[in-house]
Symmetry: C2
Subunit: 246 residues, 2 copies
Amino acid sequence: MLADEKLVLSKTAKTLQAIQSEVENINRIALSVDCVIFGFDENTLKVLLIRSDLKKYAGKWSLLGDLVFPKEDLDAAAYRILKQRTGLGDVYLEQVHTFGTVNRHPAGRVVTVTYCSLINVQHHKLNILDNELHWHDVKNVTGLAFDHQQIFDNCFKKLQKRVQEHPLGFNLLQKKFSLRDLQNLYEAILNIKLDRRNFRKKFFSMDLLVDLNEMEQDVPHRPGKLYRFNYEKYENRVKKWGGIDF
Amino acid sequence: MLADEKLVLSKTAKTLQAIQSEVENINRIALSVDCVIFGFDENTLKVLLIRSDLKKYAGKWSLLGDLVFPKEDLDAAAYRILKQRTGLGDVYLEQVHTFGTVNRHPAGRVVTVTYCSLINVQHHKLNILDNELHWHDVKNVTGLAFDHQQIFDNCFKKLQKRVQEHPLGFNLLQKKFSLRDLQNLYEAILNIKLDRRNFRKKFFSMDLLVDLNEMEQDVPHRPGKLYRFNYEKYENRVKKWGGIDF
DNA sequence: TTTAGAATGTGTAATTTATACACAATATAC
DNA sequence: GTATATTGTGTATAAATTACACATTCTAAA
């Protein structure tokens, strides 16, 4: 009798022991997390990759990941990877999707939970000593190891969508930024050109930027004003009905 | 030495064997899928629940789920649950989120991948003989077993968002439906009232409804026209820039 | 110190989209 | 055949998005 038939037919409650037995002895699977870590540098959206540590994929790049420990929360495992590789804690990190086809990993059955992280590249430059690590322009990310290309593509698409609905982008910028910085960021993430005046109008009308009364320094042209994002005000705002649109 | 330290420090490629050993011997975890199955009946959005099969949660309701087999794709496991419980194959099914805190399940470490499914209640009435199963009005879903309340809330919120951006709702309706049916559906999912004329205008302007030149039958009032959704046309349409809005 | 270069800062008109709202037409039930 | 319920339709207003040009301010180089 198959396990699923058992479940269908039994009308009596399973004991905790019966389930424990299944959990402990039968159906265990290796679980990993993989992090797609984005950064923004030189007006280009970058992703942090590492040379594959598997000989099978020698020379190929892969996402940063590791197996989840049996007594470790999923999110904690993702934070661990991030801290390990960038030295940064307290960064934007969000679960994206779980990939679980049987043969996705050559070492056996490994299901992987993927996370998207956005970090400020300036804040961690130190920890990139490891020369196996490299920031890649997202436009040149091809042929990753394992199913990581699929994972990256999926994550990048979701980022492009989410960044239009939530103020995630600010995690990629310095705390103080000019409107040009902000527009460059959106243009890089979305790979489009935006009208400068309408972009400014849009952000000012949101009323979520705080004018710091400071100017850019060391720019070879008229300096722009600096702003910060007002997270407090944003959090207190309730997003209403967005309309049906597809 | 901890596994993560090994990864950080090693500059040499791991052998496949080394990883296989980790995958096979150390870090395996039980994996389950849980399905949040929505239906639409009597102008009410419903979710399919089952009485918990754990004595600890006797009397409580829970989502439909099962452990994933070691040689089973994640999506296949979700389809298996769905087929088992509703008799339906070929239905809308989408992964939503993975829940993986260490103590979420009393039987030990079980990470669960959650799926959202939308089905046509008319098409499966047969298979609900199992009196442990019940369609619950989503407005009365409280106190579920395990962390299933959290899972349900998460899934329901995502459904409310997604249904405004993609034509998912049609999976909950009969192939032929009136505009009133469609509006009732949206009002039930989003728990709001919509203006009838503007709703019609909106859907007609999308030009994705096919007029079947048929009328409703057996209604105690003027019958409405019947339509079907034009999936082909929708698939061929490229969704453009949606604007920055948060 | 003057000038060229480069980017900032700003407003308005036109278009598109969303909202609010009322009445005649058509079917059933009695 | 009359009451009841729901369908089907249009317009005016408000709001949001788009397209578009010029004066200002700074640096760098002559």
